[in-house]
């Protein structure tokens, strides 16, 4: 197992290298007109909240983006900053660095994603199991139909409806002021539960269908027939023989789902006005703050890679056959 872990961890290096190149190329694709736009907006003076570290001219901004020297020098400089100083760059508009911003915002996105994740699994796994064991029963048909509807209703519409209709009917709408967890844990949870519910239920549909399929696959196996013919009770057959094997692919998918939740939180954070990573990304994209964007993208991708590795490791841990490949 440890050899496998080491091999898998070593694979992070080339992947991260390629990720950095992808992010790097994306900065270079910034159209020239955008730089002019940035100069114009800076000139308008509307949005500079603090003194900018960058000289406000096309050349100054190019220098800040690192576009004023040859290609390989640009990349070398940029990657050196990240590796040696852990500096992911700083905003073109304000003095804040990406790391500062992230330390404030990552916990919010993480909390939202985690809550949504728990809600999704609490719904999806038990329903998926029941639906598989009672295949083609009324319960199965009902839950499957609900899951398909859940797959089709976009979560941003659901979130919009939650914002609109309660306020039209009862004059109540979700709070738009963020309360940090450290100030008021209960108030914070009360604020987060609604967005988490919407994000979580929108994921539960696909998860439930997957759990059901995997369970059905296992229930067809010979060893389940053996378990039945040994005269075991249904509870034992389902939980001890079937579920354990069906969970292997499900658990590995779970980790990947977390990446989806982090991506999905962008739109939910926007609707519920939560100051998380997604909001930061949208704000910086609108402001064309490309240094901030690339810093954020590197962070997202690193989290993504770690989750992929975690998936592989959990797979290897749960299914010994994988380790010896």
């Amino acid at each position: 197992m440890s050899a496998y872990i080491i091999r898998r961890l070593l694979l992070i290096i080339p992947t991260l290298f390629l990720v950095s190149i992808l992010v790097f190329i994306s900065i270079r694709l910034v159209p020239g007109s955008v730089i002019d736009l940035m100069v114009a907006q800076h000139g308008g003076g509307g949005d500079i909240s603090s003194i900018s570290s960058v000289e406000i001219s096309p050349e100054g901004i190019k220098a800040a983006l690192g576009l004023d020297v040859p290609f390989y020098v640009q990349y070398g400089r940029w990657i050196k900053e990240i590796i040696i100083h852990g500096n992911l760059g700083s905003s073109l508009w304000t003095q804040t660095t990406v790391t500062q911003e992230l330390s404030r915002r990552v916990p919010i996105t993480f909390e939202l994603a985690l809550m949504a994740f728990i809600i999704a699994q609490l719904l999806a796994l038990p329903i998926g199991i029941i639906s598989a064991v009672r295949q083609d029963s009324l319960v199965d048909y009902t839950t499957r139909s609900v899951a398909i509807v859940g797959l089709s209703v976009p979560n941003f519409w659901l979130a919009t409806l939650v914002m609109v209709y309660p306020s039209v009917w009862w004059g109540w709408s979700p709070s738009m002021v963020y309360i940090p967890f450290s100030q008021d844990p209960l108030g914070n949870l009360g604020l987060m539960i609604l967005p988490a519910l919407i994000l979580g239920t929108s994921m539960a549909g696909s998860m439930m269908r997957y759990m059901r399929t995997m369970m059905l696959d296992v229930l067809k196996e010979d060893y389940i027939r053996t378990a039945w013919s040994k005269g075991l009770k249904e509870r034992l057959v389902v939980f001890r023989h079937a579920l354990r094997n069906a969970l292997i692919p499900v658990v590995t998918l779970l980790v990947g789902q977390f990446t989806v939740l982090i991506g999905g939180s962008v739109i939910i954070e926007q609707i519920f006005n939560l100051p998380g990573m997604g909001r930061l990304l949208l704000d910086t994209l609108v402001k064309r703050d490309y240094l901030m964007v690339s810093g954020l993208n590197i962070t997202y991708a690193t989290v993504g890679i770690l989750l992929i590795i975690l998936t592989d490791l959990s797979y290897a841990y749960l299914d010994p056959r994988i380790r010896y490949r």
Partner: protein, 313 residues
């Protein structure tokens, strides 16, 4: 030459599998059929939007701003007095173009990368797979947003960005199938009798990955439509005044939510119904094309019944 296989093939008409497919759809998949009809309705609505919609999608009636649904404006009007029903019908066209276009691009990208990488193998495959790894490390939404920010808003851009983002990830599916097939005896035999690489790829590999490719195409459409709506909702998709359902939800819908709650109802409903239809239809296509999912023998319930009958004897 008398026994040329090409001549034998001529009795096989291309429409046969399609007719077969439709027969099974009607007979075995009522939900899939319903989904197919919804998809058909959307396609017709999108194609004939000009003649179906009572008004133009950007026809402004300043006197009739934020009117609730009535006999003149069946689904009401927005803050500029534009007819919501007309905008939804024209919105179907955008969903259709982006959904089909992006899925087509994604399918082509996935097929090309998957077949080339899987068939050639070796160092080339390893290199390509590391790039795919790197690509998949980004949450999809982040890739899409960054891509749109770099290319700018627009229907062409969003189709391209969605197609590329999904296609590169989807290449894994095709590749894994090609990897298995490469070891098949008939592929080996083809190589052994000296068939050129292009012949092996086009005559042997491609027809056999076709079901996967078709499934990938149909299954990805729903995601593309949702992706377009989500990006437009965030302001990174189809720019106004084009009536994208996602854009209508956030721009007109959220801005006037207290005055005109219907503005945030209809576009989302249209979106949900269409995505539901596409999902159902895609599921049916997958079930019919993939023999492993046809069910029948070996179902748990059957096994359980048999065992119970035996044990009760």
């Amino acid at each position: 030459m008398g026994n040329n296989p090409e001549i034998k093939h001529s009795s096989y008409h291309w429409s046969k599998p399609i007719i077969n497919f439709l027969k099974r759809l009607v007979k075995e998949k009522p939900l899939g059929l319903a989904g197919g009809l919804i998809v058909l309705a959307m396609l017709l609505g999108g194609i004939f939007a000009e003649s179906l919609a009572p008004y133009g999608f950007n026809e402004i009636h300043l006197a009739d701003r934020l009117k609730p649904p009535s006999s003149i404006y069946l689904l009401g009007t927005d803050n500029l007095g534009r007819d919501v029903l007309s905008r939804i019908i024209f919105g179907a066209r955008i969903s259709m173009i982006v959904g089909l276009g992006a899925s087509a691009i994604a399918t082509a990208v996935a097929a090309i990368i998957g077949i080339v990488s899987g068939f050639l193998g070796g160092k080339f495959d390893i290199f390509i797979q590391r790039i795919v790894d790197a690509w998949l490390a980004f949450p999809a939404m982040i890739l899409l947003l960054t891509g749109m920010a770099l290319l700018g808003n627009g229907i062409t851009q969003i189709t391209l960005v969605l197609g590329l983002a999904v296609g590169i990830g989807g290449s894994r599916l095709v590749r894994s199938r090609v990897l298995v097939m490469r070891e098949f005896v008939y592929i080996q035999a083809g190589k052994a009798i000296g068939a050129s690489t292009s012949r092996v790829v086009f005559r042997h590999i491609l027809p056999n990955v076709m079901p996967i490719i078709i499934i990938f195409f149909t299954v990805s459409i729903a995601g593309m439509i949702l992706g377009e709506a989500a990006l437009s909702f965030l302001g990174f998709g189809v720019p106004p005044p084009q009536p994208s359902w996602g854009g209508m939800l956030s721009q007109e819908g959220r801005a006037n939510m207290l005055m005109a709650p219907w503005l945030s109802l209809w576009p989302g409903l249209a979106l949900s119904v269409v995505v539901y239809g596409v999902n159902m239809f895609g599921d049916a296509v997958r079930d019919i094309l993939d023999p492993r999912l046809r069910g029948g023998v070996g179902r748990y319930s059957n096994v359980k019944k048999k065992v119970k009958i035996k044990s009760s004897k």
